[in-house]
């Protein structure tokens, strides 16, 4: 295993690919390159085998509603590996649809309940007549973030002791119209409704990059121990 090769798993890159979130991975690859790391991005698609611990970072972006329902059916195969990965403090970023699918369920506009991975205690209800579209600004632990939201899903935390928002709203909606917060920070997992893409905010990008490099170094040294 190469010391300087960062492996990124892009969940359903060929289906959850319509809101510019691929930019998050492009920006991280660029910043990592500047730190001397090459990146390899693997598309984990329908039917593919996947072990999250083979990767330094897992990314899951937003997609169209129809594609999301197809992805929701394939995704449960990876529940155990993702649950362990997240609870073991490994870095993962989920945007919009990807964020919704980490919760217990989402209810579509037509009232159908689609189960999520149920790794994080949150749920989402779609309200097509109240689509939240526009610029957002919010304050995170790494400073202010400017982004764009475009979602009809309203996300609610079911365990507010365990889950903490990514930021407090300055402008726009965020998770839902009531709570005035955006996204989720849980261990080294980040969920967010921010397109734009989110990581054009280099304060957040650099923070995630540090998590990735830290876990990468741990992973490399563990691999070395095994081979010795």
């Amino acid at each position: 295993m190469s010391d300087k090769l960062i492996k990124i798993a892009y969940l359903y890159e060929d289906l959850m690919n319509t809101y510019g979130d691929s930019g998050d991975v492009k920006i991280l690859s660029f910043l990592l390159k500047r730190e001397g790391y090459d990146t390899q991005v693997d598309n984990i698609s329908l039917g593919d085998e996947f072990n999250a611990f083979d990767y330094d970072f897992v990314f899951f972006g937003g997609g169209q509603d129809f594609e999301q329902t197809v992805v929701a059916k394939d995704l449960p195969r990876h529940k155990e590996t993702l649950r362990k990965y997240i609870n073991d403090d490994k870095p993962m970023l989920c945007i919009c649809g990807g964020y919704q699918l980490m919760g217990s369920y989402y209810k579509t506009n037509s009232g159908v309940t689609i189960p999520g991975l149920d790794i994080l205690p949150l749920h989402t209800v779609f309200k097509s007549d109240k689509r939240m579209i526009g610029d957002t600004r919010y304050m995170t632990e790494w400073g202010e973030v400017k982004a764009f939201e475009n979602h009809s899903g309203q996300t609610y935390f079911d365990n507010k002791d365990k889950l903490h928002p990514l930021g407090d709203m300055i402008e726009g909606y965020g998770n839902n119209p009531q709570d005035h917060v955006e996204g989720l920070r849980y261990r080294n997992f980040i969920g967010s409704y921010s397109h734009g893409p989110l990581l054009k905010n280099t304060n957040v990008a650099n923070a995630i990059m540090k998590m990735i490099i830290a876990w990468h170094q741990e992973r490399v040294s563990e691999a070395k121990k095994v081979t010795e």
Binding site: T18, G23, K26, V70, F148, H195
Partner: protein, 450 residues
Amino acid sequence: MSFKSGIAKVAGKSSYWFLHNVLKGGTSFPGKFAMKIDPNVLNSLAKGYETVIVTGTNGKTMTTALIVEALKKKYGDVLTNPSGSNMQQGIVTAFLAHKHKHVKRKIAVLEVDEANVKMVTKLLHPSVFVLTNIFRDQMDRYGEIYTTYDKIVDGIKLAPDATIIANGDASIFSSVEFPNKKIFYGFKLPDDKPENDLKAPVNTDGVLCPKCDHILHYHSRIYANLGDFFCPNCGYDRPDLTFTVNNILEQTPNSLKFQMGNKDYSINIGGTYNIYNALAAYSVARHFGLTEAEVAQAFAENKRIFGRQELIHYGNKDIDLILVKNPVGLDEVLHMLNTEKDDYSLVALLNANHADGIDTSWIWDADFEGLNKDKIKKVLVGGQRWHDMGFRLEIAGFDPGTMSTNPDYDSLIEEIKKLPTKKVYILSTYTAMLALRKKMAEKKIIKAGM
């Protein structure tokens, strides 16, 4: 014609005359005015016309222009709406502005916005629908591709007698069954072999099989999700094609040479997407009884047909001004730039007004990384969101040293004059293009108007 429609028509026509001849403008106001008097004025204006409706995400303007050029060859006079005026008022204005000549067949060829197909169909009873493609487009305005297609389907359902002439390489167009007569066109290139098994790049949307939700594969892929698709799971595949492009013979940013049926065709514009537009126009022309020779002659006419691409001479510069509005269109323009043989400079203008789409995320789904940067000697970045555009290009590997930012159009135009290359490509979103053209018209670099 009802009394009300008669009044509306006269009022609309005189307001058009006034605006056009006295105020030198007016693309949608006369239509708006006539519709105020009679909301159904289009119904009476369009009586006696065979109407062709051209719709889809990309290529509407170019396809419409090429159909008009071809049909004029045989039928002389053809009514159409000017570039971009594809909402209802613009269409009413087109009918009001049309000077009637005595013709055997009255034909109207109209570019119609996807969301307006239903409403226009109600009023016009079209005889032909031309469907170009459906891609993600300004998702803050249009929503997702299936929603867009549903809107078109709702319109087609009102006209079961109309013929559908659709891009057979787009799987979405054979996903819904219609009672209508259907004609499909597509690419059947020499490398399109049944043993080929290809997948679309990861940034492609609309790749799921409409029958079984598996990912489609291709025997030959032309661009984005267009090509000779098949489903490895359920066997669903491309419909039989009536009209085909059989070979691409030559491609530069300003010329295309390709074969349809048994004949070679040339047009003075670049981009594989424009071959699709030419193929759509060819299919419509053949449907209206034109011979291959008549179509070839129409396409070869010396007049350059622009669509949303314009050539401007400024000082010693040859400028190609190209409208970009969604990632698939932008990606195809980038592919076209990679066919440029000479060194060039790139100008990228990004706005985020309603007409551009207020979300600029889409520039990240286009493959700027794949652009051949050796040929690009200088990059200028402008528009309201110059910062986002500049950052996108930096991430794509452009050296910040070769880039400069010019949010102001006066200085941008001065900078263009100083660029180190003769050839200049300007990629611009809609309102940035309008602002740039306005400034260029003030400086007498181009004529005013579109």
